[in-house]
Amino acid sequence: MRLITHNMLKCHVKNCTDPNKQFPLRFKDVQLEQIDAERNDEFLVRMLPRLDWPALLTTSKELGYSLPQSVPENPVDNDEFLQALHAFILETHVKEGCMVCNGCSHEYKITNGIPNMLLAEHEI
């Protein structure tokens, strides 16, 4: 799973509705993998407003990466920023580990790069 998708993902347990806690999901014991991908600036710029920057910062700190504190003024011409963003959200894949919801502490296990999002009967 790429980190761009993680940034879009919140807990979907039925009774877990606190918006401050169900997003972002916290990583636990993760193994990462770097896979090269082609960079497309147009796509990155289009996705920028959809990304939740504070959440992305939290995730990057958790995983030991560094990103700028906020989106720079003119991201289109900022090659360095786009490269860092591309490497983080599109080239970093989570292979193994766990995602934990801060609200209901449901653990979404990740095996072979596939998160298990199935819920138990009492969570739907």
Partner: protein
């Protein structure tokens, strides 16, 4: 026509053998590819650059491969682990999730530019477990999907409805969850080629802008597709089978060798007549 959703729940039906069959069968693959291309066409995405799409019921990534070819980025979800394993083996580019779509999905509002789904939502109408209520599951699915799409985005579902009632139920619930749009039936006059596409719009991109339901394909069915010849069933009915007899010469020789090793007496000698095919009696 047999309906797989009557046989077993999807996560069991698409087990290891079925998943392999599904992916290696060129006929299924070509039909899936054709339907995916049509679904992407119905999405009506503008030409400028790749989009972020959702593939609902991505399976072994047959549809995902086509999205990859178009350069789109996508996330896919499926309930059958065996199918997802094959997708991982094939190295598809998208992000995969093991997810039951009837439990809803947890994407933030406005995540995706569009969603496609090939041969999936008829599965939602089944109640495989006692806690599964099709109406509730459909509603949870459509309402969370509506949330996760950009305003004005489209979701195209190719599906095999079992009856008019089922179509009505699915569409009714989708409309209740805020979608507009309707059903596009391709080749309505051909029983074999007829395909149902549920084309849903998640609101409007700009206020006052009205989305038009796309035109259905009609006329002659293209002949260049894979045609189904029923060779195996035909041969079986006429007493021809491609099955070879297990007890051929090598089997006879092996058995005789074994008998000799065990010290049995009176084992005939091997000759060029051993285990030969006899002439027909009549």
């Amino acid at each position: 026509m047999s309906r797989p959703e009557h046989i077993a729940p999807p996560e069991l039906f698409y087990g290891d053998t079925e998943a392999k069959k599904y992916t290696s069968n060129t006929r299924i693959a070509s039909i899936q590819a054709e339907m995916t291309l049509r679904a992407v066409e119905l999405l009506n995405l503008p030409d400028d650059g790749p989009y972020y799409l959702l593939d609902i019921g991505c399976g072994s990534g047959l549809s995902g491969e086509i999205l990859d070819e178009d350069g789109h980025l996508w996330a896919g979800m499926d309930i059958a682990p065996a199918m997802l394993d094959i997708a991982v083996e094939k190295d598809v580019e998208g992000d995969l999730f093991l997810q039951d779509i009837g439990q809803g999905m947890g994407f933030r509002p406005g995540t995706f530019d569009g969603a496609i789904s090939v041969s999936v939502i008829q599965w939602l109408c089944n109640a495989d477990k006692s806690e599964n209520k099709p109406r509730y599951r459909l509603q949870r699915f459509f309402s969370t999907l509506f949330m996760s799409l950009q305003r004005g985005a489209r979701a195209v579902f190719q599906f095999y409805p079992e009856s008019d009632m089922q179509v009505e139920m699915i569409m009714g619930i989708a409309m209740k969850c805020g979608f507009t749009g309707g059903l596009v039936v391709d080749y309505p006059n051909s029983k074999k080629a007829r395909k149902f596409y549920l084309c849903l719009f998640a609101g409007q991109a700009a206020p006052g802008e009205k989305q038009e339901l796309p035109q259905a394909l009609d006329g002659d069915v293209k002949a260049d597709g894979v045609t189904y010849t029923e060779t195996r069933i035909h041969n079986k009915a006429h007493g021809k089978t491609s099955r070879k007899s297990v007890k051929d010469t090598s089997w006879v020789l092996k058995k005789k060798e074994l008998a000799r090793k065990r010290g049995k007496e009176g084992v005939p000698l091997d000759s060029r007549y051993t285990g030969r095919k006899r002439k027909p009696r009549f």
